[in-house]
Symmetry: D2
């Protein structure tokens, strides 16, 4: 049984025990982890990893999980008979189970539209009294400013050090999700700046939906003709559909793999692991949780 | 199987069907009836009656029920293994089931603290986008102004006409709930004014928790020495704990029944039916729903 | 120069001094008194009285005045060349002048529509940071619950004791404003209950716009045939237009004075002073301010 | 008399005419331009230019100006005896003058902290009824997404085309303001990407307060050894304090001018004009206003 399923089992057990006549203390605390979700069961180990890190670091807290994607929630309900709540349902249940202090943390990389909607939900619960909490706070996502980008750049350089240190002819190509209209999309460009400052022209970051694009990556490669070998990897918490199809899909003509091949790169390795599986990312996640819980 | 249980069964079925892949139309509409709740199963027929009235008058709408009292919700869960949602849970589920327009109507008599909290919940959902609705509106409770009091006075005079018309020596004593701090409690005094204007000194209204009190009723009776017989009845939607104990409890020394006996009234009849069982009240409820749904 | 004009002068001086380079302390505190306003200069002494009471009791606070009626504000600007701010303008200026803690107190008698709008304004400023305050709180109006009604009943009995004690054939007729749709209008009926409990059938309260009405007062008088003489007085903070015309207007056929005359009451005295002129009302006002400032 | 002073005169005239008994139409519309402000009178022509563009393009609208910087507002009040309102005061006055539809547009380049606070103000007025508007909307700042960055890149290339086309050894160095904590700061990095895509390595953008920094610019210059001559210009709406001191200050050892000199660049030209003076920027401003007013 994967950790993910253990977590879900716990969630379900909690749901059924929520009417027990427990004495209500002012100290019942919970952490709600909010993810977009993934419908690929094997990809969930990235979310499991963050969930477990929270569990290990905050043993006295209830750790709860919610997904924001209705399509994924319904697919899991249909195919696996598992009911994963959306953030509103999860907070309503935490309230009903007597939790008084709740710390919400997204697994999102940038504060884009998805994050704004989670923020709306937290603000809405803040206006409630009987159905709200004594304290409810929302953590920031992974990337907010240049300091975050510098920390992330270091994690990425460390994550791919085997490729980068041993082979000066190798570049790492990262695929982020991106969002075309939201200002937060610009954080990908800021992260690229931090990457270039720490290790110039070896890690190239693009997005599926906006800028920087695969064209920007190709331009960067053209300016660095020493690079012969590429490593493709998702810059997403979970290695799901985008990683397997849009990035590394062999059958998809428009996958980055095929675009890069068409552009003359024959030596391409894929590293299809969600960032959430990385212990350094889990550490960053816990650091954000600690800051959230302890800040005034 | 009572109507209440049918309603609950439907609620539960809805819960389990909520992930079905129905095409989402912009017209899925629901009515959410919000009651304080009652833990006495036989008293629920008053809520059933309002529920059924909504069902019959709005056949194309989902009709859903929520209770605000956590104590009652937990008692029902424990004793009857029935999970009745609170308003936040109910709205979260309606959203998750694809409803786009939701009309919330309380069964409350006055816009007091309970109503304010329901209003908070509706306002909170109004700030949500993905987890909210295209339209969400909240109906007013039964008594808001003098016009409402006049309509209610007529219903009460009609409700007790057998006692009032046949016996000029009979007064009806009504017990409302009351709330000591909230301005809305004053509506009981305003209703008394409307009652006095339509049929002077025959129906006396008091509250358990505030003014007018049983002392005010006693004063009114002393000023009307022709009155020899009394009819006691709850001025509450449900004839539950307050009606059976605080009003008509024979063993409770401080019940109004015993207080009135001690004050010399030997001929006392009790009429322990929730106002919600009254068809005229159900009509008033439907009128409020119609106004809510059709108003701009 | 009346106190009102002194206050205004101060307001204007404050306006022109607001850009001075004062060092901003965290302790600059202000009280904002919000009144509907009156266009009759001689009626303003009632507001002056409350203003002065605040000034005397809170010597370290800036005391500021705002009117909610645009018609009255414009009339005063036109006729007296005085610019009295509305509540939003007044709060914007307090912020701009560096005040950090602001206590808003209405002169309103009931928490009706006018009060709701002031509450909206205070809530709106609560959401602001740079243009808001470290603390902003809103006091309740004079009448909120039965306890308030009891305190007000005692003030009224004391206010009219010369008429009531010396002449058992005299009743006091009070005219409140009233609001037809808002639940808070019911507080007039609740105050009548408190009056009847303390001194039965000697003070009759009606409203211009809703229930209780002059008809209800006439009904009360008919039930108390000992009453031969009447004293008419406004139950409003200011004795302005309503007091002089709707209540005591000799030329207005529908004034209460003329209605009561037509109903056979020949001996009618008028007492046309705003409640705000009464020291006991000023004390109640200061009590509410103290509670507001000192509550958590 | 500069256009700025004409505008102010109008604002003051409006203030004094606001109590006139004009019939209130539902169509009184205003545009509120919100700028940080500048205390250098000669720099205001950039704001004047945007103000006039609005005036010419929306002749039926009241055009009003507010500054967000209290320090600047107080300096202007002290030194020039001119009272420029903050956004709350300006909106309060528009409401008091009977305007029903108000369109707020910032002159800010990125949606950072300043923009968030303006958004707060607009949201607060949206919750008001009597003191609010029938419609109030807030325009986006100049840079929100990659499309905006592409449009801005084209404007910049055109703005400096004399330097860029004629001299292939010349680079333009732009100084933006920057904000260290806010995600929106990343838009400067995104704009650099757009600049590089349209004209590689000829325009280098940095910020005073965050990344990209002058160090990032120096790194870029080192990678482009053909560049011998530099043009320094502010990437700010107004060429005020930052442009004259932090960018081009000869006496300030840490000015970019001196830093670049120390790094070996002897041929440096300064172009100290606010972006707001540029007709293409004014066109972009009007385009945003049109979109705001006409969008649903």
């Amino acid at each position: 049984m994967t950790k993910f399923f253990s977590a879900l089992l716990l969630v379900l057990m909690l749901a059924f025990s929520s009417y027990a006549d427990e004495p209500e203390s002012n100290d019942k605390r919970a952490i709600l982890i909010v993810s977009f979700g993934t419908s690929m069961p094997e990809a969930r180990k990235a979310i499991d990893n963050l969930f477990d890190a929270a569990k290990n670091n905050f043993p006295d807290y209830e750790i709860k999980l919610a997904f924001t994607s209705n399509i994924i929630r319904r697919k899991i309900a249909r195919e696996e008979n598992l009911n994963i709540q959306n953030p509103v349902q999860a907070l309503a249940e935490l309230n009903d189970s007597g939790f008084k202090k709740v710390y919400v943390i997204p697994t999102h990389i940038i504060p884009g539209e998805e994050y704004d909607e989670i923020k709306n939900v937290v603000e809405a619960f803040r206006t409630l009294s009987k159905y709200g909490f004594k304290e409810i706070k929302l953590a920031r996502p992974f990337l907010n400013n240049y300091k975050d980008c510098e920390a992330m750049a270091e994690i990425l350089i460390s994550r791919f050090k085997d490729f980068l240190e041993k082979n000066s002819d190798t570049a790492v190509i990262l695929m982020g999700h991106g969002t075309p209209e939201h200002p937060a999309n610009a954080l990908y460009a800021l992260l690229q700046l931090a990457l270039n400052n720490k290790m110039p022209n070896r890690i190239f970051l693009g997005t599926v939906e906006s800028a920087p694009s695969i064209d920007d990556i190709l331009l960067g490669l053209k300016n660095n003709l020493d690079i012969k070998k590429l490593v493709l990897s998702p810059f997403m918490i979970v290695a799901g559909d985008h990683a397997n199809n849009d990035l590394a899909g062999e059958d998809d003509e428009e996958s980055w793999l095929n675009i890069l091949k068409k552009n003359g790169y024959a030596n391409i390795t894929t590293y299809l692991h969600g960032m959430g599986e990385d212990e350094k990312i889990a550490d960053m996640f816990i650091k954000k949780l600690n800051a959230l819980i302890n800040e005034d």
